[in-house]
């Protein structure tokens, strides 16, 4: 069995007509594959049906060809020989030695084939009695000064109470700030929970505390 007298990857379309009972075997396939261009088509005509179509297709696939399918004989076939089966296959369209990076997932959102919502289970059925209970964190404790601030759309009146609360500092404390702990001037990050200067920007001891633009004016 010699080689086909062609350059590698040069043939677009190769027709193999076989009379023998055996299918073109592995070495033949290698040669055909070498000759075919990437993406080129191979047609195999069998004179005598020797194996079921499926087997032929599988053998082609195992040999590295893609899209193996049976082909109906067209009424204006060129061949004068009676053929019992025609199978068509394709050589893979990448060259030997090519590589490409694996996609790490698509950028477009994954498309679904589900059209009808009735194919989905009822998600609310996934919840148990236990699930429907909320954890016992004391809500309703809306006093100012405790942890959570008033909600943006406060309906209980806390937000207005908060607005009315004034600073608890005397003028003396503002004009001449002193700090026994030494941390009051450093800013909120360092102040104790009970520091009278809480909420004010950092300042230097002894210097008048500026109720700066950051504080009372809107943070626009």
């Amino acid at each position: 069995l010699g080689k086909l007298p062609v350059e590698p990857s040069s043939i677009d379309f190769l027709i193999c007509i076989s009379r023998s009972h055996e299918y073109p075997g592995g070495s033949w396939f290698d040669e055909i594959s070498r000759a075919l261009k990437p993406g080129g088509t191979l047609l195999v005509y069998k004179i005598l049906q020797s194996a079921p179509r499926e087997t032929e297709k599988r053998q082609l696939l195992l040999a590295g060809f893609l899209d193996a399918k049976g082909v109906q004989r067209s009424s204006n076939a060129v061949l004068t020989v009676v053929v019992s089966s025609i199978v068509k296959a394709k050589k893979a369209s990448w060259k030997i030695g090519t590589s490409f990076a694996l996609k790490k997932g698509t950028k477009a959102p994954v498309k679904l084939q589900i059209d009808d919502d009735s194919d989905l289970i009822d998600e609310d059925s996934l919840l148990t009695e236990e699930d429907l209970k909320k954890p016992q964190i004391p809500v309703g404790d809306c006093e100012i000064g405790t942890t959570k601030k008033a909600c943006k759309n406060c309906t209980c009146g806390r937000a207005e109470e908060e607005e009315k609360v004034k600073l608890g500092l005397t003028t003396e404390q503002l004009n001449n700030p002193q700090s026994s702990c030494g941390s009051c001037g450093l800013g909120d990050a360092f102040r104790c929970g009970t520091c009278p200067y809480k909420g004010l920007p950092p300042f230097k001891l002894g210097e008048k505390v500026s109720l700066s633009s950051n504080f009372l004016v809107a943070d626009i």
Binding site: G105, T106, K107, A108, P109, V110, K111, L112, I114, D117, D119, L120, I121, E123, L126, L127, T128, D131, K134, P135, I137, V139, I144, G145, T147, K148, K149, A150, C151, K152, N153, C154, T155, A159, E160, E162, E163, V165, L167, L186, G187, D188, A189, F190, K198, G199, P201, P202, N214, F215, L216, A218, D219, I220
Partner: protein, 631 residues
């Protein structure tokens, strides 16, 4: 038994506002510090079908206010809900779920709970009990995340010791703890730029500047459009509330360009707020940045999982640094997260600052950090000013400063009645913090401060919301207390315009506010439509009902008014085929309204409550019940 290969740990997250992303990144970081490689991916970038190929998956999902899954999870979740998935589909897959939610809402962490159950039903095995983070906890979701992670590492180690070569409690020595920044900043010589492309003149175009800045930003989401759909010019800014009553709600009218943009009633307008230029300057000075520099932001190659369009950012045109800060980095309103403080601690040169920061980041200091930072809504600028010795390199700032987010509003105008214009009804957000500082919402107060004569242009995006525009023949039951009335102003105007050509179906509108004299928004408009055969008039078969919650000792809300009209509502639903639309800004209102509808159906239709609930679900499925709730 063969050696178990060390596959990376897969962490899938679904984040709406960025919190679940932060939590997921933290999980990833902690795993990597213990020696376990991690793949971090948003659910909308992961093919649910390949879940079966995974050995161990960690899910971090948040639940939105109304109990819904974040947008990024919708497709994935739908996939999992398919009836024909076999019970053993995920056999052999180990998983753990952490949810972020708020127990102030009735549907607390429903998404995480449902996901946990569904995965289990599909044959996967939970390796730890689901963790449920809660905003109401003294330290927010971190309160639940810390202990959950501790048990997670222990269990993972038991299952496969090769996950953590040094054991599950390993903490690398401090010097190795600082990770690499994920992004690099490339500085460009202005001279070269001018010689090359006409970048400088291009960059004068506001649309291009915005596009460039926002597409380079690390926080860009895959489905987010960087280029604005339109620019707005304000033509009217009017208060709708009585001055000094405690609430400031404004009516804004804008013209938009290009005029080829079209929208529908019920749509949503997103606006990019402007930051106070003095504060931006203060930030740039504080961080020793060069406001005149031109930069591009590129991800560092090592396994970057943030979705930046690779081709774009590699050859992205440079942008002025100050512009980038203005347009993409929120330094004046959003609070940084815990990791920001952690990285700060490495760059603090003053001993007491470093100590304090390390304390804040430790488990002991977690609650105090939450008090100082999240509860107070500290801004990045404020935090940096409180720790003056910290000099953080710009690439860290770019990665860690919260992205400037667009703000969404329901459109209050109608394209037919207000051609080329878009109107908004905006409540100016203001509150006092626990430390008695007065704070205001960035976007709402900025819009309120604008004067039409200034001619400021506002970048805007239009998109669909949860309220589809109703055809004129569909009878409507609208419930929209407070600013919830905004989209319905649009509905009414549109229908009035349609009414001139052919008779449109009537509307029952339920409005609510605090006091008739203080915040009865658009009073004259509603009243005019409820007389003389208007769409809200009884004569037409419509109605206008107002609940003034505080005008009497007991609270009266929209649902009370609805119950008073139960017969009419039932007739509209059962005979008229009416659709129900609910809009507004309250945690409980939508569920209170739904309960009222359930009661009405049960009472007037003569069916049990369960049957009424089923009927409501059918209405939802048939597109006859819509809710747009914002917080």
């Amino acid at each position: 038994m063969g050696e178990k290969s060390r596959k990376p740990l897969l962490v899938l997250y679904a984040s709406q506002t960025g919190n679940a992303l932060d939590a997921a990144e933290r999980v990833g970081r902690e795993a990597e510090r213990r020696g376990c490689p991690v793949i971090l991916s948003s659910m909308d970038e992961f093919d649910a079908n390949s879940l079966t190929l995974e050995k161990t998956v960690i899910f971090v999902v948040s639940t939105t206010g109304q109990g819904d899954a974040p947008d990024a999870m919708k497709v994935f979740w739908k996939y999992l809900l398919q009836k024909n998935l076999p019970k053993s589909w995920l056999e052999g897959v180990h998983y753990a779920v952490f949810g972020l939610g708020d127990s102030g809402y009735q549907k607390f962490n429903f998404v995480a709970k449902k996901l946990d159950r569904r995965l289990h039903d599909l044959g996967a095995s939970a390796i730890v009990e689901r963790g449920l983070g809660d905003d109401q906890h003294p330290s927010g979701y971190e309160g639940a995340l810390d202990p959950w992670m501790t048990s997670l590492w222990r269990v993972l180690y038991q299952i496969n010791p090769t996950f953590f070569p040094h054991g599950p409690d390993y903490i690398p020595p401090t010097s190795q703890l600082l990770d690499q920044p994920k992004y690099q900043i490339v500085y460009h010589e202005l001279g070269l730029l001018q010689a090359g492309l006409s970048v400088v003149s291009d960059s004068k175009s506001p649309a291009m500047e915005i596009e460039r800045a926002r597409s380079m930003s690390p926080a860009k989401l895959s489905y987010d459009k960087s280029t604005p759909d339109a620019f707005l010019k304000m033509v009217r800014n009017e208060p709708l509330t009585r001055k000094g009553c405690g609430r400031d709600v404004r009516h804004f009218e804008f013209e938009f360009f290009p005029s080829t943009i079209s929208y529908d009633v019920g749509d949503v307008l997103e606006v990019l707020p402007s930051q106070n230029p003095d504060l931006v300057d203060a930030f740039i000075q504080r961080c020793n940045l060069d406001p005149e520099a031109f930069i591009t932001v590129c991800p560092k190659q090592r396994g970057s999982h943030h979705l930046l369009d690779g081709s774009k950012s590699g050859q992205a045109l440079p942008i002025n640094l100050k512009k980038y800060v203005e347009l993409a980095m929120d330094v004046t309103s959003a609070s940084p997260r815990r990791y920001f403080f952690e990285v700060m601690s490495y760059f603090a040169t003053a001993e007491h600052e470093k100590e304090r920061l390390e304390y804040f980041v430790s488990p002991e200091g977690r609650d105090d950090l939450y008090q100082y930072n999240q509860k107070e809504r500290r801004t990045v600028l404020e935090v940096l000013e409180d720790f003056p010795s910290v000099q953080m390199p710009f690439e860290w700032l770019v990665e860690l400063v919260p992205p400037l987010r667009k703000r969404a509003f329901s459109i209050a105008s109608s394209p037919s009645a207000h051609p080329n214009q878009v109107h908004l009804t905006v409540s100016v957000v203001s509150w006092t913090t626990p430390f008695k500082r007065k704070r205001m919402g960035l976007c709402s107060s900025w819009l309120a401060s604008l004067d039409p004569l200034q001619g400021v242009t506002i970048p805007a995006w239009f998109h669909k919301g949860s309220l589809p525009a109703p055809p004129p023949s569909l009878p409507l039951i609208l419930i929209g207390p407070g600013t919830g009335c905004a989209p319905f102003r649009g509905f009414l105007a549109e229908r009035a315009a349609q009414d001139t050509s052919s008779s449109a179906a009537p509307i029952m509108f339920f409005f609510g506010c605090r006091n008739e004299g203080d915040d009865f928004l658009y009073r004259d408009l509603w009243l005019s439509h409820s007389h003389d055969g208007g769409l809200l008039s009884e004569a037409r078969g419509g109605g206008f009902y107002v609940a003034f919650s505080r005008d009497q000792p007991q609270k009266v809300y929209v649902q009370h008014k609805m119950r008073e009209q139960s017969q009419k509502i039932w007739a509209a639903l059962s005979e008229g085929g009416a659709a129900i639309y609910v809009a507004g800004s309250s945690t409980n209102m939508p569920s209170d309204v739904m309960l009222a509808v359930e009661e009405i159906i049960s009472k007037e239709g003569g069916v049990a409550r369960e049957a009424a609930a089923v009927l409501i679900r059918r209405l939802e499925r048939d597109g006859k019940y819509h809710v747009e709730a914002w917080s």
